[in-house]
Symmetry: C2
Subunit: 221 residues, 2 copies
């Protein structure tokens, strides 16, 4: 297909497609005539991946390039390709961290994960983010919230297995990387939004006497 | 206690405490002498709440004031106090929404929630956020990820019950509001960070043959 079709099929604006070509994020098409090139399904797949990394993963062009390099490296095992995509979309700038509380919280999270048999990379950005949250809960002096840490561990253990299996079922490294980006960013947003809806629903049921007195809605089992 | 002690005990800088007083977020202390006022535990509790709303919930002063008004209204049932806090910390500026796909995604989420017997407020910001995520997954044309929507519903249903019960065990409306802020924002961050750690752990176990061949670590059951 021509570049204009590639743009139409992918929904990516033509100037953006040309920009990705110039930046080397998208390989050139096969030349067919002067000023014309032909693009195949492999270009479409790559374009979708680039788009997901930049638009959904919020990656810079440079970070996108290194995730693509990992995806293209035939020597790299798939778990390292996934790891590169994962680290790129989950690294964030660090908030203020008060010591020694923060390092203690980080060690506590790492130890809880290891006791569950999790393989934790000691430099994982997610470990820092978990430590940020646990340190905040500890500093807030709300002991009622502490048991939730175990609840979150339990919930994510089962959830993550299903997510990883879904992403792995997608086949090619390009698709797996796109699945990691969409699964991690969009899946996280969906999980959190549903959690908020469920919280509201449960507080209404627990606290509003009018609701509590009502029978279950007809659609419930 | 004096204002300087209030600052020291709460960890909130003195100029910030004075700013909250001027803005009416913190009630004035009892006058004890010229230029002196006495602050009690109720001031400390309120200061901690204001701090949580502004620093963790990222609320503006105006939004903080209206959550405090809800918390202070003796006529307002606790579920509406929680709802006010919840809506304030979860409303976000909307991303680009392509119609009719977005409205269809929103209706689908609402209908799935209702079929589970959830009480969904039709104007809940979380419903919009869930629609953003579902519309993105649908547009990405990755059918492998669709079954995860049900997985997320299942996971959050159980999780949210435990979270709401933990927050409700905290007693006073001020503490419940602070619990909602910390539980919603920090709990969400922790849940997501642990989910990422679990995903990494599972991909390593599934994909790295060296890891797969190893026996379970000694700390696992």
């Amino acid at each position: 297909m021509r570049i204009s079709e590639l743009s139409a099929v992918s929904g990516v604006p033509l100037p953006t497609v040309k920009y990705y070509l110039r930046e080397g994020l998208l390989p050139a098409g096969r030349s067919t005539a002067r000023n014309q090139a032909d693009y195949g399904p492999e270009h479409l797949a790559r374009l979708r991946l680039v788009r997901a990394l930049i638009e959904i993963g919020n990656l810079s062009v440079a970070d996108t390039r290194s995730v693509l390099a990992a995806s293209d490296d035939p020597q790299l095992p798939l778990d390292e390709v996934m790891g590169a995509a994962h680290d790129a979309v989950t690294s964030r700038s660090a908030p203020t961290r008060i010591e020694p509380a923060w390092s203690e919280a980080r060690a506590a999270v790492q130890s809880m994960a290891e006791q569950r048999g999790w393989r934790v990379e000691p430099q994982a950005p997610a470990l820092d983010q978990a430590a940020d949250a646990v340190a905040t809960v500890l500093a807030a002096d709300m002991p009622e919230l502490l048991p939730l840490i175990d609840v979150y561990f339990d919930a994510t253990e089962e959830l993550a297995r299903k997510e990883v299996e879904a992403v792995l079922s997608m086949g090619s490294p390009d698709q797996v990387v796109r699945g990691v980006v969409i699964g991690t960013m969009v899946g996280g947003a969906l999980l959190n939004a549903l959690r908020l809806l469920a919280q509201q629903s449960i507080s209404i049921k627990l606290l509003d006497p009018a609701e509590a007195a009502q029978p279950a809605p007809p659609s419930a089992p």
